[in-house]
Assembly symmetry: C2
Homo-oligomer: 620 residues x 2
Amino acid sequence: MNATSTPKKITVRFEPIGAEIRVDSPISVMLAAAEAGIALEHPCGGLGVCGKCIVRVRGNHVEHSQADQHLLSPEELEQNCFLSCQTVLTGDTVIECQAGRETESGLVVIHGVNAPIELKPRVRRVRLEIPPPSLSDQRSDATRLLYAVKQAGILADRVHLSCLQTLPQILRDNQWRVSVICREGEIISVDPVGDDRRILGVAVDVGTTTVVTSLNDLETGEELSVRGAANEQLVYGQDVISRVNITLDQKSGIHQLQEKIIQTVDRMIESMLEETGYPSDSIYLVQAVGNSIMQQLFMAIDPAPIAITPFVTAVSGLLQFPAHTIGLESARHSQISVSPVIAGYVGGDIVADILATGIHQARHPSLLVDIGTNAEIVLGNKDRLMACSSPAGPAFEGGHIFHGMRGIPGAIEAVWVEDDTIHLKVIGDGDPVGICGSGLIDALAVLLHLEVVDETGRLRARDDFAGPEWIRERMGPFKKGHSFCLTCEEQKPIRITDKDVRALQLAKGAVQAGIRILLDQWGISLEELDSIFICGAFGSKINPVTAQQIGLIPPIVLEKVRFLGNTAHIGAKRMLLSDKELNMGVFISEKVCYFEVSGHPSFQDLFGLSLGFGRKWDLL
Amino acid sequence: MNATSTPKKITVRFEPIGAEIRVDSPISVMLAAAEAGIALEHPCGGLGVCGKCIVRVRGNHVEHSQADQHLLSPEELEQNCFLSCQTVLTGDTVIECQAGRETESGLVVIHGVNAPIELKPRVRRVRLEIPPPSLSDQRSDATRLLYAVKQAGILADRVHLSCLQTLPQILRDNQWRVSVICREGEIISVDPVGDDRRILGVAVDVGTTTVVTSLNDLETGEELSVRGAANEQLVYGQDVISRVNITLDQKSGIHQLQEKIIQTVDRMIESMLEETGYPSDSIYLVQAVGNSIMQQLFMAIDPAPIAITPFVTAVSGLLQFPAHTIGLESARHSQISVSPVIAGYVGGDIVADILATGIHQARHPSLLVDIGTNAEIVLGNKDRLMACSSPAGPAFEGGHIFHGMRGIPGAIEAVWVEDDTIHLKVIGDGDPVGICGSGLIDALAVLLHLEVVDETGRLRARDDFAGPEWIRERMGPFKKGHSFCLTCEEQKPIRITDKDVRALQLAKGAVQAGIRILLDQWGISLEELDSIFICGAFGSKINPVTAQQIGLIPPIVLEKVRFLGNTAHIGAKRMLLSDKELNMGVFISEKVCYFEVSGHPSFQDLFGLSLGFGRKWDLL
Ligand code: FES
Ligand code: FES
């Protein structure tokens, strides 16, 4: 009896929409909704902290999570209200959407380095008093306007046609005193002085799983609102490769995927505007970042060649275009800017990571690691930047692991030994139904510590193990190999198999080899590193100690290791708020020396050397 | 009984459209249609040479014109077919449109100087073979495309998003051999080699009365088709000032006027595309020129301040924008370029005139005169350019003249003395119903020659005239003054009154004063002029000898006077076909030193001195 290996299909029905899908059990309501193509609001990105993603659940016995207890009122609890992101479904269910309270301001905890930023947005407002024309000064309205703007210290050399159309009247009706908004050398709006409309911009991090947006005041840098939500493309598959496959299978695939992500972002922006009360046309800029495939899908650019050798993007430079060209209705008057990328598997999100961590300005080299299906690794300082992408595979996300699952309620997220027994921490505090990435790293560290797994990665047979009985009794043959059971008698058995250990070993080997090849290319030892930045959602959940024990993080003093969370969004915001940062992003994308590891012999060698679990790295 | 002074109203009904209007009689079908907002096709611009503007006329006795006899078949003549541009209505009529033959290629006689042009269009095609990517060369598709374009000698630094979307597939499906189209530094289309779509551009001269368009091959410079048609804005008034008044009277006036001109141009472009069989998306560029008010109305830019002191345009520089921003559906994928202007009353059409005549490249100074309600005058050579606009008033267009009318059928277009009698030439060869500009100039010259008008401009009373009886009998008191009758007994009397003479005197005085003030500012005598170019439709119809006799054209050897017709369209074509010419247009617009005559004392002095009919100009 094993719910993960041969997942039971359950039927989930969403009311009042009437959508019904059959999904693998267990699944959170949040993901089930995404797969049904229904955008539930998840302001905090499913972290279980905002208490906004309220649904009512009928028909299936579900336990309230700790977050439910914490964030919902007694009435709500009694009325079968649940937090969508914290609620795992195990049987047929009817979900009533919009059953909750009115939502207030979202709350997303975003950590990051984020050095102070010099506000220098591409959109600027200036108030002008322009000398009126006369028979001896017949320069055109546009000429005198541009001259006045220039005198105010703003570079602009043209006026948008939509402004010109009403320019003569606005100037004369307001005695030549106007408030002017310029964007990238172009005057895009001329209004009476006293019109105090705010100049807003949106930063978007288009993640494969989660999208984060923020609404920002471009004149003050203030973040007015922020949202996190599931990428509605999840309907079409969990990882980038399955999305690319959609584009290959169906002629309209690219457009379907674009529609989903535009829809996601549109809903998030609309929600932020609704919360803050600003109109759509106060958004002048949108800065988007994402991995190369996500960025291309955002713009409906065929992503297929990124997925196959030689892994080439359609475009690597900065792109800027009016919002209507991609149909982003929520910010229809804005200009969209999409980050440059470094390579097919080192995208605009990594450019943003670099900007957020500031490693490109540091004197001493630091390492930046963003672990997902691919681990993007950057090594650099102000003089030099190198990057590679190492094929870690899905093991750290629970993929191809016997009891693996993503980090949703029911997943074992931490494992440790105390008092001669195995302790588990389960997301949502219910019974364990599987194990996610951070749990797997802990588990592997425990098995290494207990010498159940040896330095070569072999999970010993019970007969081959001479240790204490409380360990031995968890060991045993499984399928054609061996396994170790994490759970105790009365729980559903969650096992780590020798195949799982092998998968994790390959994954950490890939990351390690990627790090080592950059250190090797640079000619630097671990000790010389100033910091190691672990970026991305996954990184913020792992235990640095166990990650170091299994060799995923290099063996340096832990003070040097910094876990930063969603740095991609922070970097996007920097590009949004400062022209200098955007230019720096372009500079970085061109400056980074990309090292392609695929098929490279020295990477293969290092990969072989990186498979073991010894803590010695410096054999270069 | 006088049809012109108190014009009879007649009803004209257009079938099968069902539109009905009441208009002043006499009126040509062409203008009646324009006033009814119906776009009849007039491929040759109403010159009566193409034979395409066939309509059937019912209910009102109309004579066939000479052009009808010449261009229509006997069957058509019998079936009451008429050429719309040559047919003058004098009573209630029903017009059947689309009663004629299938139209073939249009025929417009366009004269002009038009020096050989170096083809250097803003849109270029290049065929490329691009090295495919590999693991050791992972540059993005866009990067390698831009690099190949650069190697082919074309400057381009970006790829339009619509191209990027399909770029990966097109490159790979065609083994990296593609045909690329670039516009102004941007790659706008990537197609398989062998796709031989032509790269076309449209030149548009937006005249107040007539619009001329041509369809041109940007790679060969070949003119594929040309059209002339009435500006549908005529519905809202004959001259620019009455159109500006519409924008002041009605809030939506600007947009109504824009709609009319866009409709006019749309129909003309569609007709050219239909004739040549090319699709709309082969039009990549549209180059428009016109006077400042027409240009602003074309773009829906408020033109009101141009019409009142200090006569300021909203914009003077070159404007470029995508066609969809002004709704030009017939060329919806094109980029529109609107000429820079020199001043409120020296517009993009004069910039085009200068380009077409080439005075800006000549060693010796020449004079350029474009006569309409305002006379635009340019004096210049390669080193220096000066311009002014002199308020000639509508007299030369037949406005404010007792029997005045525009140059349409029924108008006296030439007057001369032979064998002691007055000879008249009437447009359309029917009975005279009025007199147009060229006829007025001739008539005034005749009156000066016969000494009926003296050098001060006084039309003598009959008693005050001692000349032969055949002259005296045409003279006589009229209203509170005197008049001279041009027609003979059996014809409707067409008189020149002393007030008419005064109006013409003021008009020619204004032109003369404008010319003289520029010569004065420059410090040059008439004899030193290399040429005098008379531009525009009006200029191509006047008799240079009589124009010189009344002092409208300076007294220099007639070989130096050149009548060029529609140079504005020719100049627009030059800007369309060559980037160099467009840049030259921008340069000219900035270089021309504009002299504002309004309220200028030295212009007033010269104006006074220019009223007489003596032939001495050089009293400077
Ligand atoms: S609690 Fe915030 S999304 Fe669920
Ligand atoms: S004959 Fe050509 S327009 Fe009438």
